[in-house]
Assembly symmetry: C2
Homo-oligomer: 155 residues x 2
Amino acid sequence: MVKRTSFEGDACPIARALEAIGDWWSLLIVREALFGLRRFGEFQSKLGMAKNILSARLRALVDHGILETAPASDGSAYQEYVLTPKGRGVFPILVALRQWSEEFDDRPEEIATILVDRAKGRPVRKLELRAEDGRLLAPADTMLKPRPAPRRRSA
Amino acid sequence: MVKRTSFEGDACPIARALEAIGDWWSLLIVREALFGLRRFGEFQSKLGMAKNILSARLRALVDHGILETAPASDGSAYQEYVLTPKGRGVFPILVALRQWSEEFDDRPEEIATILVDRAKGRPVRKLELRAEDGRLLAPADTMLKPRPAPRRRSA
DNA sequence: TCCAATGGTTGCATTATGAAACTGATTGCG
DNA sequence: CGCAATCAGTTTCATAATGCAACCATTGGA
């Protein structure tokens, strides 16, 4: 078999996330969905992607529990694709990607939009990783530990 | 031309980020690099990926300024791939992906590791998006604004 | 009713990916 | 030094994914 390697079943949570949303278009679809798009045609025209690919991606996102289909909210007989909580949970990933571009892109002047706090219209803060006690953590301040075995409860 | 659509030049910073690190393996390579890997063979054996693909990805990451090559630190004549600041800046993206899996994965028991604060050994906090004034922001509390017009300047 | 728009699917060409074989330097070792 | 093993890739070839265009079945509006 010479198919594309799947990360399903991989023990690394990053690989597992990529398995679900690591495709070329998936995150952009979720981005548009967070922005309010719901209909097939809306995604297709906004993203400018081929319809067969969009169709395949939507199905995959539904399979992964990121989107779900629902009857159209406008009364028509068509259906819509709406985000599940799992899908809305992708938001911080998108913010992280956006902020990375804003900080490191070689041609930041080509970036058209900035993410702002709706209430004040001011740019949002950078995402930052903090310890339980609030200390700011750089990569080197972190490490990976084996997941605690799910056995008896104790103190 | 029927090649894979490129997001280069796209005005969306998320698309631009995906152009650089949205490939199937790229983020995993950066993850390993953040973990300390530097040599071709280390990446290859740790990730278990085909050498030609690894070769292509490493070159692309170098082209994008995420990795750079350096003479080997152990005195050998080989070279190493080390993260640039732009590459280390990917860290929050990886954390966001990890936390998304931790929160929403269907089989969380298959996730082998947890990210902890090195100093205390305690799990890190969830990334959260905050406004300038510190308010916690949900997706609906944010919006996109056109980037402020660039200052008039010769180019 | 007729016809356009919607929401797909199918077919085919082009690209990307992957396994394995191959190459050429570098290194360890006797 | 001489030589085998290792390292870091490249090449080759088969298969999978992507993209475009054409097609088709419903839906919805006039």
